[in-house]
């Protein structure tokens, strides 16, 4: 009879991963809450501004519920968050959700575009370099990648501004988006921010893709396919590249997560109306609720991307048969 391995219960494995991701998110939120609330820095005092006396601060604390035990406050916060209520800004007194929705969407737009560009660039560059390791093209691309990965993102962004906005005057340096509008109204303003983010992440991703391609090129089945007299394009597209898809997809999914969490600085360079502005001012103004809310959203996005990476990996390669 035909033999083979024991059947794999895919849904079960996926469910386990999902449970793991949820657990991680919860614990991450707890850590975040801890960092934001426990460390010195009193929201009550900040909300009243300087010059408030001890009595007023104490009353404010009671009002804000800051005198209750930490665990209760955490559970309250998480509970409301699950209901969709992220609390109220202690500075502007508006619901956090309201303050954060538009910036969140704008950040996600930026991330989505950057991911698309990154995948396209990193795949082409990585495959080209990986198919000819040691060639001049490979060295050039790899040197560029090494440099771009080391340099902080805001520096790359600034250089882009210097070149394209200042020197060439071709693209706007700053996103001048009217309140309530969307960056899509002025696509030209999206180009540089997306480019800045993509340069960095494409540099990183292309090295992974390249390594994956090089390793696949050395595998016994590719060597065997070449010795069997198959044309090179067939060897590359049917024998080499398919085995690199799994690990590369994983890398890209992880990258998405990293991008989501990493747009803040680039946004600032361009004054892009994403989450960075409310996030930074929340810290400056001691607006704990906003800080926690945005932190939670970003962590959630990261966890979702990591989960996606894991799930994709499971689907593409359930038995772990393709060497990672």
């Amino acid at each position: 009879m035909s033999g083979g391995r024991a059947p794999l219960r895919l849904p079960r494995l996926m469910a386990r991963r999902l449970a793991g991701a949820v657990g991680t998110l919860f614990t991450a939120s707890a850590l975040l809450f801890l960092a934001a609330e426990v460390l010195p820095g009193d929201a009550a005092a900040a909300s009243l501004g300087g010059g408030a006396d001890a009595g007023q601060i104490a009353r404010m604390r009671a009002e804000l519920g800051l005198d209750r035990p930490l665990v209760l406050r955490y559970l309250d916060w998480v509970g409301s968050a699950l209901d969709g209520d992220l609390g109220t800004s202690t500075v502007s007194h508006r619901p956090v959700g309201e303050l954060v929705t538009d910036p969140l969407l704008d950040t996600l737009l930026l991330v989505a575009l950057s991911v698309l560009v990154t995948v396209a660039v990193a795949t082409s560059v990585g495959v080209l370099a990986g198919l000819r390791p040691g060639s001049a093209l490979d060295w050039l691309l790899s040197a560029g990648a090494v440099a771009l990965v080391s340099i902080p993102q805001f520096v790359t962004a600034s250089v882009l501004v210097l070149v394209f906005a200042s020197a060439l005057g071709v693209l706007p340096a700053v996103s001048l988006v009217p309140l309530g509008g969307s960056p899509l109204d002025d696509p030209a303003a999206l180009v540089l921010p997306v480019a800045a983010l993509s340069l960095f992440s494409a540099a990183w991703a292309s090295r992974m893709v390249r390594a994956s391609v090089v390793e696949a090129g050395r595998s016994p089945h590719v060597e065997s396919a070449r010795l069997a007299g198959l044309p090179e394009h067939r060897v590359v597209f049917r024998h080499l590249l398919p085995t690199t898809i799994g690990p590369c997809l994983q890398a890209f999914a992880w990258l998405t997560g990293a991008l989501v969490g990493g747009t803040a600085v680039v946004e600032r360079v361009f004054n892009y109306p994403g989450l960075s502005a409310p996030l930074v001012s929340a810290v400056v103004n001691h607006d704990t609720a906003v800080l926690e809310g945005i932190g939670l959203l970003l962590s959630g996005a990261v966890v979702v991307s990591l989960l996606l990476a894991d799930l994709l990996d499971l689907v593409a390669d359930p038995h772990g048969s393709v060497a990672r």
């Binding site: 035909s2 083979g4 391995r5 089945h221 007299g229 198959l230 067939r234």
Partner: protein
Amino acid sequence: MIDIAELTVVDRTGRAVVEDLTLTVERGESLGIVGESGSGKTTLALALLGALRPGLAVRSGSVRVDGHDMLALKGSRLRAVRRRTLTYLAQDPASALTPTLRVGGQIAELAPDRSAEGVRRRLEAMGLPGDAEFRRRFPHQLSGGQQQRLALARALAGEPAVAVLDEPTTGLDVLTRRLVLDEIDRPARERGLTLVFITHDLPAAARLCDRLVVLRAGRLVEQGPTLRTLSRPADPYTRALVRAVPDIAEAGRRTPAPEPPPGPDAPADPGGDRALLEVRGLRAGHGRGTGREAPTMSGVSFRVGRGECVALLGASGIGKTTLVRCVSGHHRPDGGEILLHGEPMPPDLRRRTPAQRRSVQLVPQDAVGSLNPRRRVGEAIARSARVLRGLDRAAAAAETVRLLGLVGLPAEWAGRLPGEMSGGQRQRVAIARALAAAPEVLLCDEVTASLDVGIQVEILELLESLRRQLGLGVVLITHDLGVVARSADRVLVLDGGGVCEEGAVAQVLGAPRHAWTRSVVGAMTSLRDLTEGPAQAEVGAAD
């Protein structure tokens, strides 16, 4: 069909990897090319396909296959010849299967007839199911044996005229080895395939090939019909090679080893014979950590007497290594006793007395891993001598030199790092290190697997002499029944979690009772039987 004329291939330093080689293979002939590591076999194999490893260059000569000059062809012409005339199988044929290509596609890609019907026929010819469901599977959904068959079916799908096989059975267990060889032999005979079989496994070559060629350090030292070359070798190197191959037929001729002189701490024995090492009812599972599976072994018991060599046989993964690691204290068993000189030993190595730790030494399967890459080889050996035998630095250094000599390594190599040595050399260092403790029991886990036949002989003879002179007890794990036949006194066969067969080597190998033992013994080829059967040669008289 194949014409190699004065081929010389050199590496970057100018050293000849293949030197002045001239060889012809007739159409339909099966040629075996035999040699040890470094003989240039693989270079030759690849040259037949017009490929060379990076760093190698042809200094002179040519390689012609069916009239094509393989080393001169390039691009699409070269690919055309590879596709239509040749096929190549490397070590572990199944690893050549691209994991993302379905079974049907694997065949259809290389076959002239891509129809479902054609693919089905080819699969069935190799003993595989031909139905649509099977054709849609991926390689990892097949069993190990099926994967090998698929790889062979794929290799033959293009209806080649010449098959080049480069060590296809290395790394495979005995039964799979036999499967691969059978499945190559059959279509080769049926289709009149020209076969070039490159290997260091002499019995396998003997079984499959009409003619043999012996390579040594890139040069051809002997060639001739298989039987004649094996039974009346002309060249001394060939003679030594043939004699060195451990042969399963030796089992029947073993004389029982003479009783070794009593050791210094053998107690006055009133009645029974106190076995040196005794294992009672050992139970153990694999691995460590939180995920313990069901025990692999339940209730294994055996004894090893002084100067005795007990071989452990069994299928891969059955637990031979785990068993031996329990005895050495590296693995915690779930139950059972281990007794040294009749005294029970703590199962955990850390709880054993220094004397106990010294007495039982393990030479692990993975010599590469068992040596700290950052410690010089001499230091590893000397440390063992210092710590376990209490020798001072000077004495330990002298002992290191002696031991290196015993295992056939130059004394100056004590200053080398493991990474600077070959796999076989590292294996010998591991043996030396184990011997540095002056043990009473030596547990050897596949220690001869990565060694060339010549070195293997030296090591086995070393163990033999240590057994005779010092009463060293040896537990030998090996898959090579020839080694068992040559060196072991008794054999233990493990199957289904326990000992399924046990007895003197002549009996177990000559008349096996258990099913697994029978299949494995049947799968082995005996050179002696081959040569002495029909040819009536006087191998012994040639000494």
